[in-house]
């Protein structure tokens, strides 16, 4: 039987879709309907919509947004998604919300699990940022927005480096690499981790050039020693060479953070994508095993008091 849904108020407008709140008629469950406008696109179904549908159909995981149904109405494609009333960006920005180290650990763990699930299915997300980490009413983090996702490339495939929102863009992308892989997503998660700890964006570049400056000032300019052939990238010569931060400098920046947390963050923010940690390494990090243990998602209070 075909489910029916009611469409209620509009909650957001993305690049290629309008999002409405809605209700599933059969059980009055709250849902979100992402309506993809088709008539506007001269090339038929939009690539972002195609990617989103393609990957969400395959990725079923507690930490990946659930695509519950798809239907056509009035020549529009409608994605029925689970209702996720908040996102990490809102939470981080809302200074009236207090959260603990255990809460951060819980969010990072859920994020990494979601990203790991993508990677094990050979999918790169390519647009991880706090705004795309939605939060369910039960406090569960869900990786969302697969409009830029793609399959893990073959080694020889040429890719566009123009992916990922600037502040979360890995150094190989900043250099314009034509080959990259899982490591770009891990970098983004590393920057998000730092942002949760600092509660301000960690590497807020003003433009693409400034992004390199900001990134390398904070984390050191990569050298041939730790990233062989990095100097072959065309833009490398123009770079100011900054030394990597000392452990103490990092500790001063990230106050009250355990050393295994710093290890994990540095693993994710490793300049050389070949040495950057995989999601598996991240999930196995000592950080998740030491106290405090991650908060129970349902116990994290994210609504402003």
């Amino acid at each position: 039987m075909r489910e029916s849904y009611s469409k209620e108020n509009k909650v957001g407008e993305g690049t290629y879709a309008v999002v409405y709140l809605g209700t599933r008629q059969s059980d009055s469950k709250k849902i979100a309907i992402k309506e993809i406008k088709t008539s506007e696109f001269k090339d038929g179904l939009d690539m972002s919509a195609i990617r989103e549908v393609k990957y969400l159909q395959e990725l079923e995981h507690p930490n990946v947004i659930r695509l519950m149904d798809i239907f056509m109405a009035y020549n529009n494609l409608n994605l029925v998604l689970e209702f996720l009333p908040s996102d990490l960006e809102v939470v981080i920005k809302d200074k009236s919300v207090l959260f603990t180290q255990a809460d951060i650990k819980s969010w990072l763990l859920m994020t990494l699990r979601g990203v790991h699930h993508c990677h094990r299915n050979f999918v790169l997300h390519r647009d991880l940022k706090p705004n795309n980490l939605l939060i369910s009413p039960e406090g569960i983090i869900k990786v969302a927005d697969f409009g830029l996702a793609r399959a893990v490339p073959n080694p020889r495939e040429i890719l566009t480096s123009n992916v990922v929102t600037r502040w979360y863009r890995a150094p190989e992308l900043l250099f314009g690499a034509k080959h990259y892989t899982y490591a770009v997503d891990v970098w983004s998660v590393g920057v998000i981790f730092a942002e949760m700890l600092l509660r301000v964006p960690y590497l807020p570049g003003k433009d693409d050039v400034d992004q390199m400056e900001v990134t390398f000032r904070a984390l050191g300019t990569p050298t041939e020693k730790d990233w062989p052939s990095v100097s072959m990238f065309p833009s490398y010569n123009k770079l100011q060479i900054y030394p990597p931060p000392s452990r103490d400098e990092l500790r001063n920046r990230f106050i009250a953070v355990s050393s295994s947390a710093l290890n994990l963050m540095c693993g994710m923010l490793e300049m050389n994508p070949g040495n950057r940690w995989s999601t598996v390494q991240c999930l196995e990090s000592a950080y998740f095993k030491e106290l405090p243990s991650p908060s129970n998602p349902a116990d994290i209070n994210i609504s402003s008091s």
Binding site: K54, H116, R150
Partner: protein, 442 residues
């Protein structure tokens, strides 16, 4: 272990072999493992059928269209009222006949081949052509050629497949290259997507082929000519594309199809490889033990053991599966999260209790060979539909949809006969025939 999900090429083979494991999971299956991934795929969930179920599906699709056509035909006859003569009625009854399921299938196969040819002509990558073929055939599992003219879906399908494979070509330039129009290409794009049940990700056998080739070269290192292997690889890729034109895709997993194609290409080599990989340890040592001189020997041995365990599971599960008829059930999603220890599962997997016994190993290889051979046979049984056949079916399809044309044609013929009786001078008359019109496009 840690590299497993980070390196696609390492995971490739593991994945392939693991998905050889049968389609059914035990109820107490709690964890997500790689072999589980294929079973979670939309390809497995929506597009895998038993032979019986596939047939039922085609019959159902055909029947639905037949009923529509017959209703339309009856309506047409009713509307004509007294205007329709007995001979006209007779002609309608014999000419305007809906297609049978077999005829539909032939027409679909004929046009699928067209999809392939056009894809090649457009210089599309192999995977994009493969996806086009797959989409086209799936569409006609859901819809009848009597409702959607296959000619009108060829370009739409290729265009959507390009997008689905991230090989974007703008609609205008696509239309130009394919000598089609934008409207024609986009007309049924939504319909196509809907009939595809919104599933766009395909697992083609090319990836497992790559994995098996790497493994064969490693296991038979020094025993195989690399130049020969390169040629064989290319041939196998072509054969895989041919296999995608057959129903094997609905009954076998991509790695099974890969092995069928491999065996078809070089039975001796591939059998030897499978013996080494899946055969009894004694057998392996006796037959090939002295030949293997590879640094990775120990690894290979270990892997072989792992693979054996999986195949054992497969044989067990195959048994379960054959007991049930119809579509392999979607297993309940028993996926569970473990606290931070998600990645520990591999080790635990290996501990899974599997009865050991030499006899069983033999059975497993036999069973595997049986599957591969069945798959190979199914691929080979594909018969080419001649243009002549396709034209006849196409015409039949045309007449059953346009009874008025059948009548017109009959009237002209009668007039023509009368004229011929009256005056011998006129020699030929233009006939209203769909075949003339379609000559160039069929």
């Amino acid at each position: 272990m840690a590299s497993k999900s980070t390196s696609p090429s390492a995971a490739l083979l593991n994945d392939s072999i693991k998905s050889l494991v049968s389609k059914h999971l035990p109820d107490d299956y709690k964890r997500v493992t790689d072999d589980d991934l294929y079973r979670h795929s939309s390809q497995y969930r929506h597009w895998s059928y038993t032979v019986g179920h596939l047939r039922e599906k085609r019959i159902e699709t055909n029947l639905k269209a037949v009923k529509l056509i017959q209703a339309k035909l009856q309506k047409f006859i009713d509307e004509q009222g007294d205007n329709i003569s007995q001979s006209e009625l007779q002609t309608l009854k014999s000419k305007a006949v809906p297609l049978t399921m077999e005829e539909e299938l032939k027409l679909v196969n004929f046009y699928t081949k067209k999809v392939q040819v056009i894809g090649k002509h457009l210089n599309l990558p192999t995977e994009v052509i493969a996806t086009s073929i797959t989409f086209f055939r799936r569409f006609y599992l859901e819809e009848s050629v009597m409702k959607y003219d296959p000619k009108e879906l060829v370009h739409t399908t290729i265009f959507l497949a390009c997008k689905a494979e991230n090989y974007f070509i703008g609609v205008d330039s696509f239309a130009k290259k394919a000598k089609s129009t934008k409207d024609e290409i986009l007309k049924y794009e939504f319909k196509l997507l809907e009939s595809l049940k919104f599933t766009l990700l395909n697992h083609h056998p090319y990836k497992p082929l790559h994995g098996f080739f790497l493994d064969i070269q490693q296991m038979l290192y020094g025993k195989v000519d690399l130049k020969y292997m390169g040629k064989m690889y290319d041939k196998c890729r072509r054969k895989i594309t041919e296999a995608l034109l057959t129903d094997a895709v609905y009954h076998f997993t991509p790695p099974q199809i890969t092995l069928a194609v491999l065996i078809d290409e070089d039975e001796l080599l591939v059998t030897r490889y499978l013996q080494m990989k899946f055969g009894k340890p004694e057998e392996t040592v006796e037959e090939t033990g002295t030949e293997i001189v590879t640094p990775a020997k120990e690894n290979a041995q270990k892997e072989k053991q792992e693979v054996k365990q999986e195949v054992k599971q497969e044989v067990k599960q195959e048994g379960e599966k054959s007991e049930q008829n119809g579509k392999p059930e979607d297993h309940p999603n028993t996926e569970k999260e473990e606290e931070g220890a998600e990645t520990k599962q591999e080790e635990e997997e290996e501990e899974a209790e599997v009865p050991d016994g030499k006899d069983e190993n033999t059975i497993e290889l036999d069973k595997l060979m049986e599957q591969i051979m069945a798959c190979k046979e199914m691929i080979a049984s594909m018969s080419v539909v001649s243009t002549q056949d396709a034209k006849l079916i196409y015409a039949k399809n045309y007449y059953c949809q346009y009874p008025d044309i059948v009548i017109q044609k009959l009237k002209r013929k009668q007039e023509q006969e009368q004229e011929q009786v009256g005056s011998e001078s006129k020699e030929t008359t233009e006939e209203v025939s769909p075949m003339k019109k379609q000559k160039t496009d069929v």
